[in-house]
């Protein structure tokens, strides 16, 4: 059909010619548009290979997990998730002694040491006004019905942010300490990290030490 049309157009070098070819072009454009959409759809789906039942989490993919156990006191176990860009997310490891208390963690207070960590205002690319912390600088105090425990930085660097959502929702620590319940984000200098790393253990070592099957 289309081939015939083209021949007609070629044989009539009059003004009709232009109208015919314009219509043909329009039709072709519409068809092309549908083709493009179909092509897009097939591209979107073609990429989906065998999907695992449970894919790795964003944390597992983007961060390397480190742990520190019995930090300054027995049972004070914390995690340090380090991103490829050098930033470290700090939080309570599952075996932290606070989780053993009945009712879990009920309160968190960032006003420890010399200042309230939750009011720091870090600004700009250069992270002005960030608090410089040592590994044993206190971050916050978590309280259970029974007792309260100091959580420390574990990493020497600039404190970029603390998770102030925990103030109103301390139960996040109980439900997902390794994600929404993170405590702080710290940016260490490369040299400081290299030294710091030596006192940390890997996920495998942590599991073995605590004889857990995670």
């Amino acid at each position: 059909m289309e081939i015939q049309k083209t021949a007609e157009v070629a044989n009539n070098p009059e003004t009709e010619d232009t109208i015919e070819s314009t219509k043909q072009n329009q039709h072709e454009e519409e068809v092309e548009h549908c083709d493009e959409e179909d092509e897009l759809r097939s591209m979107l789906l073609s990429d989906i290979r065998d999907l695992p039942l449970t894919p790795p989490s964003a944390t597992q993919v983007n961060f390397v997990s480190y742990f520190i156990t019995d930090f300054t006191k027995p049972g004070h176990d914390q995690y340090i998730y380090r991103h490829a860009n050098g930033l470290c997310v700090i939080g309570l490891a599952p075996t932290h002694v606070a989780f053993k208390d009945e009712g879990g963690i009920t309160n968190i207070d960032f006003n420890v040491g010399k200042s309230d960590r939750s009011v720091l205002k870090v600004s700009g690319k250069r992270k002005k006004n960030a608090m410089r912390s040592e590994s044993n600088t206190a971050l916050c105090k978590v309280s259970t019905a029974k007792d309260s425990y100091i959580v420390r930085c574990c990493v020497k660097g600039s404190l970029l942010e603390v998770n102030e959502r925990l103030i109103n929702q301390p139960q996040l620590l109980n439900s997902s300490a390794d994600r929404e319940g993170y405590i702080a984000i710290i940016m260490p200098r490369p040299a400081d990290w290299t030294k710091n790393k030596e006192s940390l253990i890997t996920l495998e070592e942590y599991k073995q030490k605590k004889e857990l099957s995670l």
Binding site: M43, D47, T54, A58, N85, R179
Partner: protein
């Protein structure tokens, strides 16, 4: 009285045989009208003929002077001023103490070979040859001249001397054309003829740079001490300028001819089919991230076709290395520095085909074309205000239900707050950014109740991955918080970058 000119003493170049052009006649007459004792004075100091005209004449410096040879000019000046006719050999070959040979059409090239031209057209021919070596295609050019600072200092010294010695004369006070501008006047028309091009403030520039040989520069330029002394002397009205100040003998300058074309631009839309190709060249610690880059795959093909020096890649927005760019493609510009030729539309189409039909199919291009000054307006269209459309492969911790599909589709113009994602927090300001998700649509995937395809249209600047997995709760609401369970993003594709017109 009559228009006929007298034959010059001892030198028959051009005049006495009657074949005199109007311009030559004008120059001859101008020579006659110059103040004779100052001409004699300057010639004996070692100032060249064209500089004498420039400094002493009241008439504007004219391109007529270009076609008259230096030796002819000299003989006319000597005749007019009754100066001793120094043997033309030695006087002409001495480098002018003011212009250092620039206006004498004397220079040495990069290989230290001396070049001497008698007239403007010969000089233009030499320059043309050097320009042609650069290989540019052009039909108009802008001429730029640069001379060593010593020339400016010499000029100042000579003017001071003249003002001191001939201060009562009228011609002394008039504005003198600079050596730079004088060269342009002499050389522009012959260059236009020799290059076959027009002259205008075009996108193609020819720069004639005169510089002194390195050992000369040391002696010649003023020290700070000398400059201070000179300035105070000028202020006090005293001049220490005497004929003895002009004793230095100079070497001719080195001339280098540089051609530069303003950048040209090509526009188009690109597709990225690979999840291992970054948008721009990305190298960390000497190692390349990803297999290739969009920038190099496109720019690397356009640059050789333009015979340019280098290129820059600009895109209307960006996507991560593991995100595909599908749909209508993302607008981009390639800027080429100092191109020697502009590829035809046909060549551009061939480049487009070459990229699209390449074996690996990492990147695709469409609508590749040459674009003019409106290119930046076009780019801004694709940037901040526009909407972007994506398709994300999402996994959730519990099975997807019909009500989820409905609740997601019903969210129109959803406002979310995103704290700067952890993955970019090291290089961006810690801010909380409000963004809008315009609409969302869930597409079920056959055979899976935990995976689905999420189509969404969002405001420019929205971090999609963080919207899905929540970024440790720092993006809210997120896919996970809306569905009440853990959500992860497996893959992301950009399916549309909306621009104003298309």
């Amino acid at each position: 009285m009559s228009d006929e000119t007298k034959p010059s003493a001892g030198d028959s170049s051009g005049l006495s045989n009657g074949l005199v052009s109007d311009s030559d006649r004008r120059v001859y007459q101008a020579a006659q009208s110059l103040h004779s004792s100052s001409v004699k004075d300057l010639l004996s100091l070692g100032v060249c003929e064209r500089c004498v005209f420039r400094l002493v004449s009241v008439e504007p410096f004219d391109s007529d002077l270009s076609s008259v040879s230096a030796s002819t000019l000299r003989s006319w000046l000597e005749e007019a001023s009754a100066a001793a006719a120094a043997s033309s050999e030695s006087s002409c070959s001495r480098v002018c103490i003011v212009c250092l040979g620039v206006l004498q059409f004397v220079f040495s090239d990069a290989k230290q070979t001396l070049a001497r031209s008698e007239c403007g057209s010969d000089y233009a021919a030499r320059v043309t040859e050097l320009v042609k070596r650069e290989g540019h295609e052009f039909d108009s050019f802008g001429l730029e001249v640069s001379v060593p600072s010593t020339v400016v200092e010499n000029e100042r010294a000579v003017l001071l001397y003249l003002k001191g010695k001939y201060e009562t004369e009228g011609w002394v006070q008039s504005e003198k054309i600079s050596v730079k501008d004088a060269l342009k006047v002499l050389v522009l028309d012959p260059l236009k003829a020799s290059l076959g091009a027009k002259s205008d403030s075009s996108s193609f520039h020819i720069r004639l740079t005169y510089s002194m040989t390195s050992d000369e520069v040391q002696d010649a330029s003023e020290t700070t001490h000398e400059r201070k002394k000179r300035k105070t002397d000028e202020e006090n009205g005293s001049t220490s300028m005497s004929e003895n100040s002009f004793e230095k003998v100079y070497e001719p300058c080195i001339l280098s001819v540089n051609c530069n074309k303003m950048p040209i631009f090509f526009s188009g839309r690109y597709f990225k089919y690979s999840r291992n190709v970054s948008q721009t060249r990305w190298i960390i610690d000497d190692e390349r991230m990803g297999e290739a880059s969009v920038e190099e795959l496109i720019g690397g093909n356009i640059l050789p076709a333009c015979l340019g020096d280098s290129y820059k890649f600009h895109a209307a927005g960006r996507e991560d290395i593991d995100v595909r760019m599908l749909g209508s493609g993302r607008p981009f510009l390639i800027e080429v520095q100092n191109s020697r030729k502009c590829p035809s539309q046909q060549s551009l189409m061939e480049i487009e085909e070459k990229i699209n039909n390449s074996e690996k199919k990492l990147v695709g291009v469409k609508d590749l074309k040459f674009i003019g000054s409106q290119c930046w307006a076009m780019m801004r269209e694709g940037e901040a205000e526009k909407q972007k459309q994506y398709a994300a492969l999402v996994w959730i911790a519990r099975p997807l239900e019909e009500k989820d599909i409905n609740s997601i589709s019903s969210l129109i113009e959803l406002k979310i707050l995103q704290k700067t994602p952890v993955r970019v927090l090291h290089r961006r300001s810690p801010l909380e950014r409000e963004r809008t998700i315009h609409w969302m649509k869930v597409e079920k995937i056959k055979g899976s109740s935990h995976y689905f395809l999420l189509h969404l249209c969002t405001q420019a600047g929205t971090y999609i991955k963080e919207f899905v997995h929540g970024d440790l709760g720092r993006t809210s609401p997120s896919m996970g918080s809306i569905l009440g369970c853990r959500a992860e993003i497996i893959q992301l594709d950009v399916t549309d970058v909306k621009m104003g017109d298309s």
